[in-house]
Symmetry: C2
């Protein structure tokens, strides 16, 4: 029977979870999504993910068909019915079926899907990162939202995998460090943690926000600033933040081994405590 999917207010086997071909999510990438970890039966930071999706829905004028409370309730049912207390949950919201052409029809009824996926392996991993040949626009107002128009990130990830790496460093059109294909990037420098400002064209990641809060809590000095990629090579440690894998230390950058600051493990441990609290 396969996994159950939540689609348009109902639970149904995946094989029956179908979308009309004129859904603008399918035709034009006209949608938003969120991915989060399910730990002990609960979607981690569900409220923050829904808050980001709601902000996106307001910006793109896509109707949000359910309240955060309703969504949380449906998510709990989905996890329960599938008996998947350790999993990855994806929420997708598109503008829904509409007529041809870019200009959105204000009468569109949105499509909301929730799906569950296998949890990532629990083993601690270290990544190889390579610089992507693709870059993202600096100062792009759309980068504040997690849209489904993600073909650049798909290509950057595919390119990294083809090079034997795990993730791709995306520079922006100014040549500054922005993010990776799968998450945000932090680097340690002179006993400080640094990350790129959102004005670099960076998605304001939920795990990025958690790391900023951990820095405040632990009194770790933090600098949010734009730098060129050469500075990363001399950093004292590098890690990627993302909602599925959390804190992922980077061991190799463009084929060269990196130093590993104790700050990276301090953050990783603290994040892990939050996750399992």
């Amino acid at each position: 029977m396969g996994v159950l999917v939540f689609l348009k207010g109902q639970f149904m086997p995946e094989a029956q979870a179908l979308i009309p071909v004129n859904d603008r999510g399918f035709l034009l990438g006209d949608g938003l999504f969120e991915t989060m970890l399910v730990v002990g039966g609960k979607p981690f930071l569900f409220g923050r993910h829904v808050e980001r999706m709601t902000r996106g829905a307001d910006f793109f004028k896509i109707k949000m068909p359910f309240s955060p409370e309703e969504l949380q309730n449906f998510a709990a049912q989905l996890i329960e019915r599938n008996q998947m207390p350790e999993a990855v949950l994806r929420l997708t919201l598109t503008r829904g079926p509409g007529r041809r052409g870019y200009a959105p029809d204000t009468s569109c009824e949105p499509t909301l899907v929730m799906t569950l996926h296998p949890a990532p392996p629990e083993t601690r991993i270290q990544w190889k990162l390579v610089t992507s040949s693709f870059c993202i626009p600096a100062g792009n107002p759309l980068s504040a939202y997690k849209t489904t128009s993600k073909i650049l990130h798909v290509m950057a990830q595919a390119e990294a995998v083809a090079k034997g790496a795990d993730d791709a460093l995306l520079l922006n059109t100014n040549g500054d460090v922005a993010e990776t294909a799968s998450g945000n990037l932090f680097w340690a420098h002179e006993n400080m943690l640094c990350t790129a400002p959102t004005t670099c064209g960076v998605l304001p990641g939920i795990t990025r926000a958690i790391v900023l809060e951990i820095c405040g809590k632990l009194g770790i000095k933090l600098k949010v600033r734009a730098i060129g990629p050469e500075a990363l090579r001399n950093s004292e440690g590098l890690f990627v933040t993302q909602s599925v894998l959390g804190i992922v230390p980077v061991a190799m950058f463009d084929g060269k081994p990196l130093k590993s600051s104790p700050l990276v493990y301090k953050i990783a441990d603290n994040y892990h405590e939050t996750l399992t609290a």
Copy 2:
């Protein structure tokens, strides 16, 4: 019963043309599309559109499930069965259903859809163009392909419509004139026609290519160059090129009326002859 749709090798009523929720086109805008005019029962420049889609499929490593000849045959059947000799034809090719995450699964079986839509009105139109608050990256290798990751163009078009305009001028991250939300842009200057080079981040439009050929044929001097938006205000005429509406003269730009060079109408007349030949 509604219009018939071509999906995965079969013709079916639109209501039955459904896509699995895990299609990467729906999840990540991981696909390509082409839109063309159907005139007298024939899709105009079908070969060129399929050629661009095939180039994209090669680049993104999406399988092309049918040969150009097969596609042309299916398109002819779709037009015939729907009795829509005057229409708009859209081809959509996505990577197809796949597992969660950006990195594409090489085993994906692609989704190919062909749909017919009402023909645009035949009356000659003139457009109001406004400068978008969104910009596209200059020198982006992905801009050579018509992908389904189009939320920026959706937003630019929505913004233009909200301002009472028909289309939006998109500048690139260098501040140069690139394209419009719906097509390419040409301007007349000192008895020459000008357009932005593809290095500006511009989609190499099929109608753009036809206009370049018409210029050669009629001996109209052509300059492909990057300019700032202020130069457009003083141009002797402006027009948008796109596959559905062809050559669309721009009468107003950011609220100011524009001159109208005879070159614009020369190109429009010649294009119309090609279309109806």
